[in-house]
Each structure stands twice: as C-alpha cells, then as structure tokens.
Amino acid sequence: MVRTGNLPDAGLVRSLMATVRNTRRGIALLLAGTLSASAGSPILAVPAAPRTAATASMSSREQALQALNRLAFGPRPGEVDRVLEMGVSRWIDSQLAPETVADTLLPARLQNLPTLAMSSEEIFNVYEKPVRDARRQRRLASSPASANEIPMTREEAAEAQEKIAPEKRPRRVIEELSSARVLRAAYSERQLNEVLVDFWMNHFNVYAAKGLDRVLTTSFERDVVRPRIWGRFEDLLLATAKSPAMLFYLDNAQSVADPEHRPPVPARAAARRAAAEAMSEESGTVVRVVRRGGLNENYARELMELHTLGVDGGYTQKDVTDLARVLTGWSLEREGGGFVFRERVHDIGAKTVLGHTFSAGGGIEEGEEIIRRLARHPATARHIARQLVERFLSDDPPAAVVDRVAKKFLATDGDLRQTVRALIESPEFFDRTFYRGKVKSPFEYVASAIRATGAETNGRVPVLKQIAQMGEPLYLCQPPTGYSDAASAWVNTGSLVSRLNFALALSANKLPGTSVDIARLIPAADAADPARSLEALAKVLIAGDLTPATRATIAKQLEVRTAPADDPSANTQIALIAGLILGSPEFQKQ
C-alpha cells in the first residue's frame, strides 16, 4: 500500500501513482545547471538578439512569446502572430478578464469526463461505495465461525475488485480530474486562468489519494478554488479552510478540544457523546471515533506556514497551538461530507493568536476572524507575492518585483486580479534577463509540447503517465507544500530521460490517445529538404530560439540520415527532428 492506509483501492491509486513521481528531486539538477538563467549560459544567447544589459527590453515578438510562455502554456502554431496582431497588452488584458474570452470548444472536449460535474456525494456513491461494500463483504466472509478459515488472498481480493467495471473504479475520479487539467491547459482559450488554477491548486495542495480526498478533490477545484482565483485572497482562503477536502487532508476534521475546554453538556447529551463523531483517517471513512481525540495542529501550522504568513512569518508554537484550538470543531458532516461546525468539541477557553486575544466562550466566528486577519497580514502579502513572482518570472524572484506585488496585494485588500496585473505590468516582466529563463515543470512541459505541435490529445492515462514519470503526477503531491516552482525540483537524471522519451514519442505519433502530424506543420516544399525542414520546424515549434550548438547537432544528425523526399522515411526524419527540438535544452525552458 502506498501511504494511503487501508484504503480499499490503495492498489488502484498506486497504478496512477505507479509510473509516477519518478525522480522528482533526483540526481543531477541537470537542467538547473544547463538551463537556468545564469549569465553566460549559451542557451540564453538567443542568436538574433544577444543580451546586453540586465535592463534591456524585449522585442515585441519576444514579448508575445514571453506572454505566451508565462501567462499561458506556451504558443500554438501561429499564435505568436495572432497575439502580435491583437497587441500584446490587449491580449494580456483579455487574459486578465477570462470571462470576456470565448471558450466555446472546450466543453465538448470535457464532455466524456462525467465526474467533473458530480457532487462529492454522487462520486462517493458511484465510485467509492461499491469498493467499500466489496471490502465489507470480504471482511464478513473472512470472520465467521471457523477459526482456521483462510482469508481471501491478495489475488482473490484483486479479482473481487476486477468485478467492478474499470470506469467505476475509484481511481477514475483522479484520472478524470487530471485529464481535464491537461485538456484545459492544452486547449482552453482562457490560458492565464488555467495557469492560475494550477498555481492556486498547488498553493492549497491536497493529496487526492488520501482517503476521502479521492472523493472530495473534484469539488475542491470546481467549487472552492476556480470560482475565487480572481477575487479577494481572504475569500479564497476562508473557502479552503471550510472545504471538506482541506479539512480532511490536513486533519482538522478530527481536531477536537481537550475535554476540559469543551462546553458543558447535560448528562444525557454527554452519554450520547460517547459515540462522538469525527472523521478518521485510519479507515478513510466516517466512523464514530472518539472522545479520546484531541487537538490536531496539522492544519493550523500549514495555514500559517504555507497558506498565509510563510515559514518565516513570525509565528510561534504557541500561535500554532492556539490557532488549532480556535479551529477545533471545524469538521465534516457525517452524511454528505459538507462543512460543519461542531460546537460541542470546540475549545471555549481563551486563546491568543498573533497577539490577538479571543476571550473564553467563542465559537465559529473566532476562526473566521483569525483567517481574515491572516489573509491581510503583511507577511502573507510578501509570501504570496514571492510565490507569484517565482511562478511567473524567476526561480530567484527580484526583490523589487516582490515588493511591488506585495504592496498591491495590501493596498487592494488582497484583490488577486490586481495583484497579478501588478506583476505582469512590472517592467521586469519583459526584461530580457528573464526571456526563456525558467525551466518548465513537467505539466508545463507536456502541455507546451502538445500546444506547440498542435497535437490532438484525449488527456487520458498515457499522457498522464508521462507527466507522472517526469515527477509531477497531477493531484498526487503528498506533502502539503505542493510541488516546487523551482527548476531544481524538476531536473534530474530520471526525469530528463522521461522528458526526452516523451518528446520522441509525441513527435513520432506513438503516444496512445494523442495524435500529431508533424509534416503538416511545415510547407511541403520544406519538408522535402532536411535542412529546410529543420529551419521550418525550429520556427514553428520554438520560434527559432535554438542555439547554434543545438542547430548544429540536429543538422549533423540529418547528414547521417538523409532520405529521399518520396521515401516514407522522410516523415520519420521530420518526426525525429521535431523530437530533438522538443527534447532540446531550449524547449525545456519558458
């Protein structure tokens, strides 16, 4: 079982995680070394316009590319020209107002993913309950009379699970969520919206393979995060705090006050409370646990460390403990799995968090108040600003940009649209220093390659496996930190090999569920000539931004393998050129 406890389908989840997380932080830091924006790295010396001073600005074509690489998942064929035609700043304005951008073709692509529209309860009933029932059956079958009875073997258990149709197995839920993310990244016209969904889902990471989060994550993204990423941070924060997915993931659902701090209860109620309710991670199901439960600091700590103030945000262990006490009773309903405030297990003692004292006798309003305070805290502004700049601009965020973005965050009460706009409108955003200066995450890499080649993908398991193999299985980041935005986390031997193999497989049209026609991307006349096809493909796939060294390497490859134009292997040749471009150090960067 993979860290998921006695989940009925831990084995199933495993298969998604299966290929997975390959070497997320492994060896080499290879690309970090070869690709990061260190001065003098040949890859940065884009031939047409050698970098001069750190303040040099980009050409308008480069600006369009920068916008498409950072605010979108990379350009599709011809898209740079379309953005230039529209004007880069008008394109940015439209992306900042996604509700004004038509996205008419997307719904059709998502229509075969039924769980996206289901409530948590429906998902539970369709995907979880059959497995749990089957498991209960097995338990019953294995416990009766005969002490010598041999319980079901693993093989038998697996067979029992086989009886559940593949499209009804629990892992299907995470698969559909992941497919939707890939399809939206590849095809949505509201690209900045999708980049920000990725950012905020990662900021408020939940591990979708942990117990009930298999059921709850769909609603978390759809109902909690997506509707709030253009609003105010405190609303987003409060919604995540009350979200079943987060309450379960970070254990707050089972955090209850110590008995001496609970409200007094009449004797009969006290007796009833013997069967007190709470969510138990142990079985991933709703069980009557426990009066012996106690305070769980997990969420309180991460709320300050990861979601708001940052690890150096100036809070103490006492703040963590008292914040956990403030949040006692924030839990899940036994039926339906929605948010519920359990007054009877709420800590009614006096607490002090970050210098703010709550006098004895408070209720749910204490938590709401402290969360709003945390959302408006200057340390939170800096922390969020820093993460945004790291995501959109550089692994080494320039202090001036962080300051500017943090100030905007504070001045606008955490208005996220204005905060993001402040970042994009910073002069540094179009500084040449940052042009193709950031390594793509695996998800970004795969999405950008699909876009660059104009591939048609169904976003299903084969492509998801590729992303997982590179180290970023979607929705399956176990620690609450979420995935790193820095190259050092992504570049290592194992994942580089996976990236290169993906590039070759995609270009050769060998990725099941995804089809590409590389030859169609360039004029037939170019396709007939190896040297011209290299130039043409470099232009289409990476806007010509190949270093002379990479060009020479690929050209050398062509000399070895020149094929006559009418030879069917000419297409193989073109596919190989495309594969080499997509696998090149240059294409690893945005």
């Binding site: 860290r3 406890g5 932080r25 609450p480 031997t493 090999v497 050769a508 990479t550 070895v560 190989l576």
Partner: protein, 415 residues
C-alpha cells in the same frame, strides 16, 4: 523450547556481547570489503506490518491472551509453530527461508523499534520515517538522500542512489539525486530505430549547453543510461540456485542484485513491498499476513543466496511505518499501533540476536494501553549502519535534531 535454547547457546549462536562470530558472509568473502563497494539495501514494508506476528514473543503469556485467533503457537507445539530464535522470540513459520540467515549469524532483528512520533496515520508515519524527521512536516528531502550527500566517494556514480520503484520515494528525494526505475532493462532513450542517434544528439546538445557549477551532472545523466546499457545488468542471471518469488518484490530484489553484481557504483538501493495493513482477517499461521511474509522472506532469502559472498558488501534493512495493536480486533485483524520490528542482514551485521529493550506486553507496559512501546528509535539502527558501513561521517545533517546516544547504541554492526 528449552532444548533448542540450550542448543543455540552451546553452539555460540546465541550471541553475547564481545563474543560473536563473524557472520557467514564475512567469512565467505575472500578479500576485505572496502567501504566503496558497500551497498545499503533499504526495504519499506508499506502499510504497517504486524511485527508481533513476525518476530513472536512466544514466552509472553499476554501475547496469547491478546490474540486468541491470530497468535502463532509456541515452538515445539507441532506444525505451524513459531520457529524459535532465542528461547523468548520465535519467527513466523512463513519466514522459514530467513531462519538460516539468523542461525548463521548474518541476520538480526530489532524489536520494539519505531518512530518517536505517535501518529497512527500511514500517511504521516511513512513521511516521517522517510524524511528522517519525525514530527517535522516541512522537511523536503529524504534521509537517505541526505546520507548520500554527506558521503564522499572518489568517483560517484550517477547510479549511486537508486530506487526500484515506480516513483522516486520520499526517502531518496533530495539534492543528492537518485534514480528510480521499475525495469532496469528499459531505462534509456527510446526512439525506436532512432534510439541511438537520438540519444547521441541529446547528449551532444546538453553537453554543449552545460555551464556553471553543475557541469558534471549533465554528463552523469547520459552516463547513467550508458552505464546501464553497457553493464546490461538484466542479463545477469541469479546464481547459487537462488529462486526469487514471482511478483514485484522478488523482481525488485532480483534487479537490485543484478545492479550490485554489475558494479555500477550503486551505494544505496531502495524498494518497497505492500499489503501489510491487516485490519481484518489477518490470519495466523496461514492467511493474509502469512502470504505476505512468505513473499517477503523468500525474496530476502533468494537475494542473500544470489549474492553469495558478495553479500558481505551489502547491508539489508527492512522497516515499516508503525506496528499494530497488541490485541486483535473484532475482525480478527489488528489496528494501527506503535512499535514494530526491523530486520537487518548482511555484511557487518552481528547477527543471530534480537536487539533492543523489550518493554513487555502486560497492559501496564503498553503504549496508550494498546500498543507495543517504542524503546529503540529507528534512527538508532540507521545511524549505526550509515556511520559504520557506509562511512557517513556526520550524522547531524542526516538526522537533524537527533543524536545517537552512546548508551543506547545497539551494537548491531561490527567495527
């Protein structure tokens, strides 16, 4: 029972401090075993194995009282009885393949070992055990990665840390780098007929773009692929009649043995084996746990047999996130508990002994009145192995905030 005990004592296999025999692998090894050739093989039993039914405290009356339907009978009580280890503890009969390793002094167990953190969440407990920082969630890397980082070798291989696992496990995540693969023979650039050409082109492209301090690592990446291609470990057949059990665990160990024999510079290997979360229908002599243990025991025994004298270079250790409740539950299973048992085998191990302080199973001795108490920190075990076998000089970065107290040193590793 008494007879066996006497026999063990008389043969000197019941180890006493200062008087142990060098274990069989050390005796078998023709030459010394330089630290540079040494390998740590770490195995995680994910799901929390029921250690009390692995190494059974058969001399404890409380054990049988707590487990009416799943206890393993005392040694000598006929078929399916525990295999006596030292007169107090016995081995689950499904682990009979491992018994010879214990008897010849090349394997030992540590009992009542675990994490000082009290969590009973698989999720957190595995995380803490792999990060090596119980109770601290913000640790981003794994302790074996930090161990590798703190270990200097003359010519580090890109394959020095390797997981035979579908994903890079937390325990090996970190800046030191590690490779994970499920199938050694498939690790490489796969481009059909163009594989070789594509691989060369990529290598050349990346070599040309190398700049700065991490220059060497670019080479390493392609070197790893090349090393595996030329060493071709998958062609190395099991030796000495070793018979690996079918299934992922046996296959993982077989590949780790191949990599060791292929001399690819691997220093730490990791793999895992699941299916231990026996909340219901755990079984005793037969059943769920028994089946898993058979796979586990046969795998480890085959691994040791396959490597033969080379096992003197290898230290194998198994761990699991926590133990299980002393008392069986209403479903003839066990729930999440606290302390557990670890197996340590191979070169340098002072085997044939159960290490650790046994806290007892009487209600008064149980942790929170339900679980075996942790008397040995799992880091005590790794600290000894890492410092004595793998020449990791400074353990502070490996286990921040932890110190191996000399008084608590197990002495499980020679030297």
């Amino acid at each position: 029972m008494l007879n066996r005990r006497l026999f063990l004592k008389s043969t000197g296999l019941a180890v006493v401090a200062g008087g142990f025999l060098p274990n069989v692998f050390v005796r078998m090894a023709s030459a010394g075993t330089p630290a540079s050739r040494r390998v740590l093989v770490a195995i995680f039993q994910r799901g929390a194995v029921d250690g009390l039914n692995v190494v059974v405290p058969f001399a404890e009356k409380a054990y049988y009282e707590a487990r009416p339907s799943i206890a393993i009978p005392r040694p000598g009580s006929g078929e399916g009885a525990a295999l006596d280890l030292d007169g107090f503890f016995g081995l689950h009969p499904s682990l009979s393949p491992v018994l010879p390793l214990f008897k010849d002094g090349s394997a030992a167990f540590v009992h009542a070992v675990g994490s000082p953190d009290a969590t009973r969440s698989h999720f957190d407990a595995q995380d803490f055990m792999e990060s090596g920082t119980p109770g601290v969630k913000s640790t981003t890397d794994g302790f074996l990665s930090r161990a590798i980082a703190g270990k200097t070798v003359p010519k580090p291989s890109p394959l020095r840390a390797l997981a035979v696992s579908p994903s890079l496990p937390r325990i090996l995540s970190g800046s030191a780098g590690a490779v994970s693969m499920t199938n050694v023979s498939e690790f490489g650039i796969r481009g059909g007929e163009s594989s070789g050409a594509a691989s060369d082109s990529f290598e050349s492209m990346y070599a040309d773009t190398v700049a700065g301090t991490l220059q060497g690592t670019a080479r390493d990446s392609f070197e790893a692929v090349k090393i595996l291609k030329s060493a071709d470990p998958s062609k190395i057949s099991p030796e000495n009649g070793a018979d690996y059990p079918k299934g992922p665990f046996g296959n993982s160990l077989k590949q780790i043995a191949q990599l060791i024999k292929a001399n690819v510079g691997m220093e730490i290997a990791f793999t895992d084996i699941g299916g231990w979360d026996t909340h219901a229908g755990e079984g005793g002599v037969n059943g769920q746990l028994s089946n898993r243990l058979r796979d586990y025991g046969q795998g480890i025994a085959a691994f040791a047999k396959d490597l033969g004298s080379r096992m003197a270079d290898v230290t194998l250790v198994t761990m699991s996130e926590f133990g299980r409740t002393v008392r069986e539950n209403g479903n003839r299973g066990t729930d999440h508990g606290h302390a557990n048992v670890m197996l340590v085998a191979g070169g340098g191990v002072k085997g044939g002994k159960i290490y650790g302080r046994w806290p007892g199973l009487d209600s008064s001795h149980l942790y929170e009145n339900r679980d075996l108490e942790v008397t040995t920190d799992f880091r005590d075990v790794f600290a000894e192995i890492l410092s004595k076998r793998l020449a990791v000089k400074d353990l502070k970065p490996v286990f921040p905030g932890y110190e191996l107290v000399e008084k608590k040193r197990l002495g499980i590793i020679a030297g």
